[in-house]
Symmetry: C2
Subunit: 390 residues, 2 copies
């Protein structure tokens, strides 16, 4: 059966809403003029509630990984002791970047599929002094979401002098984040995740302590120098030519998010996550992540022993469903369904329908309609809860 547009269910890039697509087609403007500075101002204002900050948000033209590098090189000096709390491939990457620039990184690695335990973090902080602790908010490789407020409170208490640097590339905007209230020193997110725009921009906010650390940090930097970004921001500019078309899209994405409202955005993500989990379980897949800390933006399911994933996935693609495979050591062991950004429960139901059809084709034991029913029921239950909480 033909589907007229692929159902892009990877954890970023996420699909673009129609008005965001149109924004990507706009003619270029002078990035040193009033139209661009107005746009930059709108992005600032529109993003602040989602970051939970009243401070500046630097807009960098790079991927999320560039944003993680900016987090490291702007706040640290070679030789600094850093605790890299990793629960998967992106936590490992964050730590590797710090090492590439000469930090002394101790790694605290959770078993993949599990969140970081605050008690273990406390214990590690008791063993040494760390200039910074690196945290992953949402681990895209495993589908696990760390409890950032609890972890941050633990770090603040156990090691008040440590900077808390958070990779929230695939979470911020889709779930609550409160930079100021939680005492986070720096957070990174990316345009192609919750923000519903094309990839190419990383957004970074910092606490006053975070900004102050940048004045002392000695790691070399130029393109990603956040001090330059902050200084330019005061003039409604970026220090280097920005990815203008991506900025047009981010501007529109943020407008849509504010129009929808923060609580409604979060409730929609919670409903889509619940629907995805219920649907995949209804199809007989076992979820990879520990039930207590499953991600609200991406779900990983185990590929059963002996299951031929490659031809199965080829057929999914042929029917218009694009999911992600496993990353790093999970390659061939899990597949991942993204549910962040411009996603509605309809998209999840459609994904489950395609998975069901292909499962039947491949002789898996599924009951037609069951997964879709389970997904929709979970969505209604979650959305009711989310709407009440909002």
């Amino acid at each position: 059966m033909t589907r007229f547009e692929p159902n892009l269910r990877i954890p970023g890039p996420t699909p673009l809403p129609p008005s965001v697509r149109e924004a990507g087609a706009r003619q270029m403007i002078n990035h040193r003029g009033t139209d661009f500075s107005a746009l930059l101002g709108r992005i600032q204002l529109g993003m602040r509630p989602f970051f939970g900050t009243t401070g500046d948000i630097a807009i960098l033209s790079c991927a999320g990984t560039g944003g993680l590098e900016a987090a490291i090189v702007n706040t640290l000096s070679p030789g600094d002791a850093v605790l890299g709390v990793s629960i998967g491939a992106f936590g490992d990457r964050f730590a590797s970047i710090a090492e590439a620039y000469g930090a002394k990184v101790d790694r605290m690695a959770a078993e993949w599929g599990w969140a970081a335990a605050p008690d273990e973090v406390r214990e590690r902080l008791g063993r040494g002094e760390y200039r910074a602790v690196l945290l992953t908010h949402n681990e895209t490789s495993t589908g696990v979401m760390n409890r950032i407020p609890e972890l941050a409170a633990t770090i603040r208490e156990a090691s008040p002098g440590s900077l808390i640097l958070v990779d929230s590339v695939s979470a911020l905007g889709a779930v609550p984040f409160e930079l100021d209230a939680w005492g986070i020193d720096l957070v990174v997110t990316g345009s192609q995740k919750a923000w519903m725009a094309a990839p190419g921009m990383a957004m970074i906010a910092a606490s006053e302590r975070g900004w102050a650390a940048m004045e002392r940090a000695k790691m070399p930097r130029y393109y990603l120098d956040l001090r330059r970004h902050r200084a330019s921001l005061a003039n409604g500019e970026t220090p280097w030519t920005p990815a203008i078309a991506v900025a047009f899209q981010v501007d529109e994405g943020v407008r849509l998010m504010n129009e929808e409202g923060k609580a409604a955005v979060f409730a929609r993500h919670a409903a889509c996550a619940a629907a995805t989990r219920a649907g995949l379980e209804g199809l007989g897949f076992e979820l990879f992540a520990d039930a207590a800390d499953r991600s609200l933006t991406v779900t990983a399911a185990k590929i059963p022993e002996g299951f031929e994933w490659k031809p199965f996935n080829t057929e999914l693609k042929a029917r218009g469903l694009v999911v992600a495979g496993g990353q790093g050591k999970l390659t061939g062991k899990v597949f991942r369904v993204g549910h962040l950004g411009a996603v509605s429960v309809d998209d999840i139901l459609g994904a489950m329908a395609t998975l069901e059809e292909v499962s039947i084709q491949f002789g898996r034991d599924v009951v037609p309609g069951h997964a879709v029913e389970a997904a929709e029921r979970a969505a209604v239950a979650a959305h009711g809860a989310g709407a009440a909480a909002g």
Copy 2:
């Protein structure tokens, strides 16, 4: 008089052709899939003739300045002696990046408005040993274009061991470039210049010697690590999520350039440059750059003593003409007209008409129609020459 679309005559971002705009509105795709790898392959093939290389071209998601940083950090080690040949603001920036990462940079600065003299470069190379020489192909701040083949030959002869790193951000694609034949070790260009796409991508090619240098270089790097880019390229991927929408546009821009043909693209740029110079002189403006080395992609004109540039420029903008002011120490001293990328002689004639109208409004002594006539005559003369050469 209303103009229905601004005439964006700054030296980047350059205007997008209609089909490039449409490409910017495409729906996202999986950057780890076959559609994206095919796109990356097309960009490679389409760009190689313009780079004058048969080797790999790394596609980075960043501004041109990020590309310059990649050139430095991938080929050099802290403490390396570098000769920074600067003829303006961008040459200064290239040298500053090298300094930020610990290179020992000797600066050879030409007076702004002049090209780098091969004899002076030879003389400087005789005084010390340099791991690398930094060159600017087109200096956007002054409207001067260096003679890269002559400079490269001089360096090769006087200091065979020095790497030749070239900033051709605002030239490559618009004018001849022959990485392999000229013995250039690394060159950087940017999507928003000759390539007719939005900003957000830097493209880098290197010689075998350049790639080999990357194995020994000790400057810290991660996001801009060209070794990772080259390794991913072999799998039809980029190491980090690429700026997909910009890649869609670059793909279409390169297609248009190859459809037009290299010689025709160069002839068009030569004609637009000739028209701009003749038109501005016809309006009574003195050109800033030395006549022997005027840029083929951007022209700088002096703001006459006592001339009120700000209200004049405000009126230009009100009438839909967007030009660039001076940069760095030329702020308030020159204005610049960009003529690269998707530019035709019509656009230049239109720009001259607007400049003429506003000149009359401001009481400047101009003869109606004279500048436009001079511009068109120069374009025809240059284009004839360019077409014959092509």
